[in-house]
Symmetry: C2
Subunit: 329 residues, 2 copies
DNA sequence: CATCGTTGTTCCAACGATGTAAAGACCGAG
DNA sequence: CTCGGTCTTTACATCGTTGGAACAACGATG
């Protein structure tokens, strides 16, 4: 691999002059510039990023800490973050926590100014004390606990309310919710939106219709739905806190020969790509994932330049995509 | 951020002694070792990986070049590669090519010994000339063209043959294939396995039952299925070259009121997590993705130590998971 | 008591890049 | 023909780390 030294020798100038050409410094004699450029071409020089960053005090990387890439929402988001980061000449380092406290702590511990310039976190279990951050950071989703960190996400209360309002507008009166979670801020907000929509329609809030889910995988949705269908008066609609839960719930409904949407309307959250193709296709709250990714990366980019900027709370748009799981074609 | 120098000053020893402690060098006086360890603890020292790697001539990163993270197969695989890489103290840098030649070329160009120690490629469009690699590399899947690079993957012919044999064993006689592709090596092999299974069963090979797909997304499967169902004698089974195509195909079948599996048996390939929850659930060829990820990373790890080792061709196991899309419960 | 091998520590150079300061080239003005 | 100023290039130090050589301390050996 060619270094600046090699190029300099070939062009017959000093190392620094080559560096100046590479970095677009203005005052280089046209003649030298030409010779250097030829030498660069001839050697196929590529800067050693490690060395450059060591000198510059930057790493050129940002961390993206998320539960798991096999969860479609995070996979799609990761793809968008990578694309957005590229525009700022950042490479993205993905760390998986598997939603565990230990995983999140170890991811956080491995972060540091020498490894990444900034970090995007999507935490599920972190405690207040864990947030000893050494690089500019932005949270995706909601603060699980009250910490002064910038955040990007949608208005979860409004989004959930929109979803449940839709179920109400279909004439459903016994609307369940799947995905309650003791420590997840997002879950609390979606539950709040759910309750608000019920109240708005003067429907009673029945705690037994709110089913917790410790993970948000398909299997959890399937299990939760089983318990709902075992009730003596099962619900006629269910609002799931993500699409995977909804897919699992629909699976259980199919196994019990409960018709969706006739007997049971189902709404999900996240709008995974697969949800447009499920049978029936899934009505879902669709956050603008590209906007989230771009907002998060842009915010960090500003913050790296001005580390002491004010906290930001960016709200990105969402929409409700109505599909077959709530409305008969 | 604390450096070795800070720790050394605090412990009252030289920088190198601290370095020795950090790197587990044996001959350090117990007393000094203790003092250094206390100082490490007190300062919260973390090695600057950039500097270390600059000195060691390693970068600590491997590249994973794949089409798109929003494709579940690649997302799942990426998660497993990250986990496997962690065991070798490697971080993974993901590059998305979106399946285009330009995307793959630019990913390849950005790679180099200064950025990554090795690379895992999952190419779709690369030409022979493009393979001017500067770091140890392994291909996932198949060689699109004939290049001398190590490779990890399953036996695609045998896997496809197993899938189609299963359809034959169900008494299906008019078996279609979705996913033919002019330049994709994997597609050619799966087609070969398809033809072998037909031949084995003395079934005729009908070119009109082989539908090409330029991309392997759900929409392509849906479109391909439409063309098959428009035939005057539609197929009674279809082998899709990946699960997304199969999901799309099943979607079209549902829209046309074609019953799966009664009227049409469907088999996919990849065993995405979503395929166990689709309605009906999808019979699929299941490669051992964890084995693929581990084999690829291990191979690279060997190759980094011994760059001139022989080419390797690692075949990982697969199985056929029979679900509702081919067999009535 | 000189010598030796082992153990423990320090000093120096180097990885490849860039910021700084200073030196050299060049120009026109006085 | 010198001076002052602007352009252009260079030597050097530096980022944080580690390999190697040099050196110091030690008990053991003859």
């Amino acid at each position: 691999m060619a270094t600046l030294k090699d190029v300099a020798r070939l062009a017959g100038v000093s190392v620094k002059t080559v560096s100046n050409v590479v970095n677009g410094y203005s005052f280089v004699k046209p003649d030298n510039r030409r010779r250097v450029e030829e030498a660069l071409e001839a050697t196929g020089y590529r800067p050693n990023l490690g060395a450059r960053n060591l000198r510059r005090g930057r790493t050129g990387f940002i961390a993206l800490v998320l539960p798991e890439l096999s969860i479609p929402y995070f996979a799609e988001l990761a793809g968008l973050v990578i694309a957005a980061a590229q525009e700022h000449e950042w490479n993205v380092l993905i760390e998986q926590t598997f939603g565990t406290l230990a995983g999140e702590r170890s991811a956080l511990a491995s972060l540091g100014p020498h490894l990444v310039d900034a970090a995007i976190l999507s935490p599920e279990a972190l405690q207040v004390d864990d947030f000893q951050l050494s690089v500019p950071t932005v949270l995706l989703g909601e603060h699980a606990v009250d910490v002064p960190i910038s955040r990007v996400g949608i208005d979860n209360v409004a989004a959930a309310q929109t979803a449940v309002r839709h179920l109400v507008s279909l004439g459903r009166t016994r609307i369940a919710a799947i995905g309650a979670h003791p420590h997840r801020g997002t879950a609390a907000l979606r539950l709040e939106g759910y309750r608000a929509a019920l109240a708005e329609a003067s429907l009673p809030f029945s705690p037994e219709l709110v089913v917790p889910a410790l993970n948000y995988h398909r299997a959890d949705g399937a299990a939760a739905m089983k318990s709902l269908l075992d009730m003596k008066t099962p619900p006629d609609a269910v609002f799931c806190f993500n699409d995977l839960l909804a897919i699992g719930a629909m699976r259980t409904a199919a196994e019990r020969s409960v018709r969706v949407p006739e007997d049971l309307a189902v709404v999900g959250f996240d709008n995974n790509e697969e949800s447009a193709y499920s049978a029936p296709s899934l009505t879902s709250v669709a956050p603008d994932k590209a906007a989230i990714a771009r907002a998060a990366v842009d915010l960090l980019h500003r913050r790296v330049d001005a580390p002491d900027g004010a906290l930001e709370n960016v709200e990105t748009p969402f929409s409700l995509l109505v599909r077959e799981s709530t409305v008969v074609r």
